[in-house]
């Protein structure tokens, strides 16, 4: 059962990492949309570069949520009800973003295009901050009670104490880190998918923001150690883990070097690695806790949240089967829409 628990913990972490890497670039591109797309043609290019893939990317969130639900029902119940208010806002942002993105191409005229551009871009930007704040909340710890439930107000006194809110200085910092990380990731994607002025502007954005991200990552690491010194316990037990934060910085430097050398695909890959490694660093510190409480005796752990063994066995069988097919679809989809986008054809976002 210890191995099964570890296996599902890893499966969910990997699915979450895939979600962050994939939806991360379309959220990042969305947040940059208003600033990088200066003409109608450029904005259509940005939308067209993510149009055929964003929905599939977002399905990773639903699929991860579904697997989390049946493997760790207690975690799903506790975290979703505890994060009630921010999750509802995430839902509204996801809606606005999707509507803006999809109907920008349907109604491509003046004032409507401006309206859809705005809700798409602002929705994406706020979403990035919310995701970062959520991650910050989990690392900081939650006011779980003996019944395993909690409820977070949006904010209390902005400090990391016994009565935290969703937003405090630490989680806002996490929100900013994730926003900048996704901006870099989105810019790297746009460098790959576009040409001309837009391509150059995206490249400059990535080159300017990557050093900022490096500083922010260091600051957030220091802040995490300050509020939560015990978080390195797993690293000290199994020292090989220290390679993860090291690789985080290597990947950041990789983005900068490759972007300068105009090796755009490698820069994008480094951006994806950075996001994945940040997540690996967090889950490495948490394991086997899956939802840390302010008072550690109320932690949700793999052992006290996992469902029965039959469900896990049968789930593993269909999951392996299903995920192989799903990866096949993604390879096919991304191959079909590979290459730089053009907007000469005016119509939808295919060709």
């Amino acid at each position: 059962m210890v191995f099964t628990g570890f296996l599902w913990f890893s499966i969910i972490s990997v699915m979450l990492a895939i979600y962050v890497i994939l939806d991360g670039f379309d959220i990042g591109a969305g947040a940059l949309h208003l600033f990088l797309g200066r003409t109608d043609a450029e904005r259509r290019k940005i939308i067209k570069s993510i149009g055929p893939v964003w929905d599939g990317n977002e399905v990773w969130l639903l699929a991860t949520g579904g697997v989390l639900y049946f493997v760790f029902p207690q975690l799903y119940a506790s975290s979703f009800s505890g994060f009630y208010l921010p999750l509802m806002m995430v839902l509204w942002l996801l809606m606005l973003r999707a509507i803006g993105l999809e109907f920008r191409t349907h109604i491509n005229d003046g004032i409507w295009a401006a309206f859809f551009d705005a809700i798409f871009s602002i929705g994406s930007l706020l979403l990035a901050i919310f995701y970062g704040a959520a991650l910050g909340n989990i690392v900081r710890g939650l006011p779980l009670g003996p019944d395993h439930y909690f409820f977070l107000p949006l904010w209390t006194n902005w400090t990391v104490g016994a009565h935290p809110g969703v937003l405090d200085w630490y989680t806002v910092l996490s929100g900013v880190v994730v926003l900048v990380a996704l901006l870099v990731h989105g810019a790297n994607y746009l460098v790959c998918k576009t040409d001309g002025d837009l391509h150059e502007r995206a490249r400059t954005t990535s080159l300017v923001l990557t050093p900022v991200l490096l500083v922010l990552t260091l600051v957030s690491l220091a802040a995490t150690l300050a509020i939560h010194p015990g978080i390195v316990a797993n690293y000290n037990t199994l020292k090989i883990g220290y390679i993860v934060p090291l690789l985080v910085f290597v990947s950041l430097i990789g983005i900068f070097i490759f972007q300068r050398a105009r090796k755009e695909v490698l820069a994008f890959v480094c951006g994806g690695l950075y996001l994945a490694l940040m997540l690996v660093g967090a889950v490495y510190a948490l394991y086997p806790v899956i939802l840390p409480a302010v008072d550690p005796q109320y932690n949700l752990t793999i052992a006290n949240s996992i469902t029965g063994s039959y469900a896990l066995q049968v789930g593993l069988r269909w999951w392996i089967f299903g995920i192989i097919i799903a990866l096949g679809y993604f390879v096919f989809l991304y191959r079909m829409f590979r290459g730089k986008v053009t907007v000469e054809d005016g119509g939808g976002y295919g060709d």
């Binding site: 991860t64 579904g66 049946f70 349907h106 799903a326 005016g346």
Partner: protein, 447 residues
């Protein structure tokens, strides 16, 4: 009733009802679009490809709204119904996770290719992406119905030491006898929506004298599809669903029919249930018909509500009764319209029968009402339980989320969905005004 549980119920009911307006159209249009595409490929007839392209666009619009209003459904199990999720996640999480893994990936990957990849794919491959989207949308429906079916008739579970349930049989969960009839009935109902909307827009084109050829293509395919679907809604699927109620939820059946005392049972066509006197006001009934439908015996005894303790009665009998009767009444009207249209189509007179085209054009909203009423029947009939016989609704909501917080987000959803409804109608209206042929001319122009 404790107000928090009421708000959480309204929260889910409102968001689920609004959400299902979109998937019923996409699931209903999917087989019709594939039919158009198949005829186009088979006969090498470009007019059918043009039609398929237009209806795929309508499908795509509805799909986007279905996706964005669908994500809150999965979330709400955790946010608003956390005690239920804690209890039942080990079972229903399976079907929800499978929906994401098997259906959503399929749909999302192939819809992009179907809508925007026509020029990059061969004709046959493009047809294949359409079939994949159809298959994905219907598969997604199965996993959701199987989830609901488990709440209606829990099977294949055992109780863990901490009181929550876990799965004991994968196929038992997927082949729940409740799920099979409910799915068939629901998909037939969705196809009625797809067919009626398609026929309605087709009738509009003919009546308004523009895009007549495309109007006729839409009508021909939709009338045939609609006739099949309206008949399948009643039998065998509606009947099968009814017999599940006889077997597993007799109290819900008694309340739906407002059948108060155990006796040979009449089928109530019209009338208002009076829960004080336990009779029907202004009744119009078919004598003994409910006895026959329940047990295939005109003189059999059907258990009335009075034979169940009041704690087992559905909590809102009159709403349940009306929801059920609206669904059945509309289903009957659909058969009348479909049979009439089918006869006129067969006689080659449909496109000149302006009176009938008017009826067809104005009927588009009715299947939405019928499908909504059908789901209300299922879910109100399940009360007072969240999981029938296992967990009461009052035990399942998130106790850590106060009524005030739930009201806040309910109001937020009301506002957000008002905006979405306006946008949907606006975008849809634009596409209908453009029409299939102008659309094709536009596409040719930009090639």
């Amino acid at each position: 009733m404790d107000s928090a549980v009421l708000i959480h119920r309204l929260h889910f009911a409102f968001t689920a009802t609004f959400h299902y307006l979109f998937p019923q159209l996409t699931m209903g249009l999917a087989p019709l679009v594939v039919a158009l595409k198949t005829i186009g490929l088979w006969k090498n007839d470009e007019r059918y490809n043009t039609a398929a392209r237009f209806w795929a666009k309508i499908f795509g619009i509805s799909f986007v709204f279905g996706v964005v209003t669908g994500i809150p459904m999965e979330f709400q199990f955790g946010t608003n119904w956390s005690h239920f999720s804690r209890f039942a996640g080990g079972v229903i999480g399976q079907t929800l996770a499978m929906e994401g893994t098997f259906a959503f990936f399929l749909e999302s990957a192939f819809l992009g290719l179907f809508l925007y990849g026509e020029k990059r794919l061969s004709k046959l491959a493009h047809w294949g992406t359409g079939v994949a989207v159809f298959f994905g949308s219907w598969l997604s429906g199965y996993f959701i119905v199987a989830t609901d079916a488990w709440m209606q008739h829990p099977v294949a579970y055992s109780v863990l030491p901490d009181g929550s349930v876990t799965l004991t049989s994968f196929w038992g969960l997927l082949l729940n006898p409740w799920a099979i009839w409910q799915y068939a009935h629901n998909m037939a109902g969705a196809t009625v929506t797809g067919a009626f909307v398609m026929a309605s827009i087709g009738a509009y084109y003919i009546l308004s004298g523009r895009q007549k050829e495309q109007g006729a293509i839409a009508l021909r395919v939709a009338v045939i599809g609609g006739l099949l679907a309206t008949l399948l809604v009643i039998g065998p699927t509606g009947d099968g669903q009814g017999r599940n109620l006889v077997a597993y939820q007799p109290a819900a059946l008694a309340a739906m029919e407002a059948h108060f005392d155990t006796s040979t049972a009449d089928l109530v066509i019209l009338g208002q249930p009076n829960t004080d006197t336990k009779t029907i006001d202004n009744p119009l009934v078919i004598p003994k018909a409910l006895s026959f439908l329940s047990n295939r015996d005109w003189n059999s005894q059907v258990p009335g509500l009075s034979s169940f303790p009041e704690t087992e009665w559905p909590t809102n009998i009159s709403l349940l009764y009306y929801a059920y009767h609206i669904m059945v009444g509309l289903g009957t009207i659909f058969i009348l319209i479909s049979v009439l249209s089918g006869i006129q189509l067969w006689r080659n007179k449909l496109f000149e029968s302006r009176w009938l085209l008017w009826i067809i054009m104005l009927s588009a909203p009715l299947p939405y009402i019928a499908n909504t009423a059908g789901w209300m029947t299922a879910e109100l009939g399940r009360q007072p339980y969240l999981v029938y016989g296992l967990m009461r609704t009052v035990s399942g909501f998130s106790k850590s989320v106060s009524a005030a917080n739930a009201t806040f987000t309910l109001l937020g959803f009301l506002g957000m969905y008002t905006l979405l409804a306006i946008l949907f109608l606006f975008v849809l209206q634009r596409e209908i005004t453009h029409g299939p042929v102008e659309d094709a001319a536009h596409a040719a122009e930009v090639k």
